[in-house]
């Protein structure tokens, strides 16, 4: 049911962990639903210099975390905010329909981390 790409990111997740003294943190999901994600980011020059995740969840949740952080790294904040759930699923070669709810988390988590960054840095203006 999972594509080889999903399995690769599940078995060898990229960007796993937590950034020390991050510029922003996003937490989405709910352990009651079996899925929870914490994204931490470091911002430099208006770009995502680093993105890391910690995820509780199924293979799809872990793989999308890995893929989404990989994609986000190096993006401007605007670009990252424009990243959608579908971009991530597509990059993984598709996800089973019943897994879409949890794979939504990754993009949401990155967005939340950026919002958190803006909240901490009111001087950085959103475009």
């Amino acid at each position: 049911m999972y594509t080889d790409k999903v399995m690769d990111h599940f078995e060898n997740p990229r960007n796993m962990g937590a950034i020390e003294n991050p510029d922003g943190v996003g937490e989405v999901g709910n352990p009651t639903c079996g899925d929870m994600m914490r994204i931490s980011i470091r911002v430099a020059d208006g770009k995502l210099a680093d993105v890391k995740f910690k995820t509780l969840g199924c293979a799809a949740a872990i793989a999308t975390s890995s893929m989404a952080t990989e994609m986000a790294k190096g993006m401007t904040l605007d670009e990252a905010l424009a990243m959608t759930r579908n971009n991530v699923a597509e990059a993984l070669g598709g996800l089973p329909p019943e897994k879409l709810h949890c794979s939504n988390l990754a993009a949401d988590g990155i967005h939340a981390a950026i919002e958190d960054y803006y909240a901490r840095h009111p001087e950085a203006s959103k475009s």
């Binding site: 399995m7 599940f10 078995e11 997740p13 796993m16 937490e27 352990p31 009651t32 639903c33 079996g34 899925d35 929870m36 994600m37 914490r38 910690k54 995820t55 509780l56 969840g57 199924c58 293979a59 799809a60 949740a61 872990i62 089973p96 019943e98 897994k99 709810h101 949890c102």
Partner: protein, 392 residues
């Protein structure tokens, strides 16, 4: 990593057809392929093989031979038992109430729900305690004058708890209700004696004890008026229509014979392996919890919950080492709620999501246990390291 020896610990999901069973079935594909209800010699030979199989299955549960009806599996047996009783004679007699438990397999639960939604039945779903046991007193209190049927499983498929069937059946009979037990996980695992248990109907499924998929049986106690579920030809004493699945029936019979023979020894062996596995896992992994009843359980199932990880992820990580298990996580099944069984035992959803079931079979060996005891702690710690809810 995929060149590890395959370690199959998902026997409660399905089992490998054993070589003796395969050998017994083999002639019925391309040699003795005759229809067992025809009269010519080849059909008569098939009919004889079916008769032998019926004896073997009856032998496993101490039934009389004509009380065994072949079906396409546990799901059909469960559907038949519930629909045939409630929708058939009993319903006409004004009995419209069914009692079942919260931890039944969906084959019973969904059937009961269908009867409620579409057939005018009323159902009571009994709760269970933290070990998964149905309380006899609760059953007594739930019985009504119009209770047609009580359906409680002999052993639960997720946590392995064995219910007090004999006592429950007696209570049901005291109020004139009939008693069905889904023994799909119990058959071939623990001794079953329909006379001693006093049940009226009992379901079993071949692929859970080394017979092939697609064959099962329903025991119908002599005298029980059960409507048909599968209508058509006059097969199975005019109670279950459809050309008999000869190879499946022969395989089921052989597997029943083998299971009966090895029951005592296998039970002990598998129980010891399961205990050893639990001892090793609980020593090596913090925050691991065992589900189900510590003693009243089938010998072959170990269900655990692991804090801070999710079941499907464990399942797929174990698969990387050639270890095959099952999980009660919602994510595995594609539904939103985790296992209705674990929830009924009172586990909070976040714990239920982190459940794994190891289920042994006749081929499970000490080395499999040792391998799991070596691999699972590693897998769990990799996943916990990834988890925002662990050491948070």
């Amino acid at each position: 990593m995929s060149d590890y020896r395959q370690i199959y610990l998902d026997n409660a999901a399905t089992t490998r057809v054993s070589p003796e069973v395969f050998e017994a079935m083999k002639p019925f594909f391309a040699e003795e392929y005759g229809n067992s209800s025809t009269l010519y010699r080849q059909g008569r030979e098939a009919a004889k093989a079916v008769a032998t199989a019926r004896e073997q299955v009856a032998g496993l549960i101490n039934a009389n031979v004509p009380e065994i009806y072949f079906t396409s599996g546990g799901t059909e047996s469960d559907n038949w038992a519930v629909k045939g009783l409630v929708c058939g004679e009993r319903c006409g007699a004004g009995r419209k109430h069914v009692i079942t438990s919260a931890i039944e397999h969906h084959a019973v639960l969904e059937t009961v729900r269908f009867m409620e939604r579409h057939m005018g039945c009323v159902a009571t779903v009994l709760p269970v305690d933290e070990y998964g046991l149905v309380d006899p007193q609760t059953l007594r209190d739930s019985l009504r004058d119009d209770t047609a049927l009580v359906s409680i499983m002999a052993a639960n498929n997720e946590v392995g708890t064995v219910e007090p069937i004999r006592e429950l059946a007696e209570i049901a009979h005291d109020r004139g209700a009939l008693f069905h037990t889904d023994a799909v996980q119990a058959a071939g695992k623990i001794p079953l004696d329909v006379r001693e248990l006093g049940v009226d109907l009992l379901s079993l499924s071949g692929h859970k004890f080394h017979a092939p998929k697609g064959i099962g049986a329903l025991y119908v106690r002599k005298g029980v008026r059960l409507g048909s579920f599968m209508h058509g030809g006059m097969q199975e004493n005019n109670r279950r229509a459809g050309t008999l699945n000869n190879h499946g029936i022969v395989g089921l019979g052989k597997a029943a014979e083998l299971a009966k023979k090895s029951l005592g020894a296998e039970t002990g062996r598998q129980r010891a392996l399961v205990e050893d596995l639990w001892k090793k896992l609980s020593a090596a992994i913090p925050e691991i919890r065992r589900n189900g009843h510590p003693e009243k359980r089938v010998p072959n199932i170990l269900s655990v919950c692991l804090e801070g990880v999710e079941g499907e992820a464990i399942l797929l990580r174990l698969d990387m080492y050639g270890i095959m298990v099952s999980s009660g996580s919602a994510c595995t099944t594609g539904s939103l709620d985790p296992s209705h069984v674990l929830l009924a035992l009172g586990l909070p959803a976040e714990k239920a999501h982190g459940s794994v079931r190891f289920s042994l079979g006749q081929e499970s060996a000490q080395e499999d246990i040792d391998k799991v005891a070596e691999v699972l702690p590693k897998v769990v710690s990799v996943l916990r390291e990834m988890s925002p809810t662990w050491n948070g």
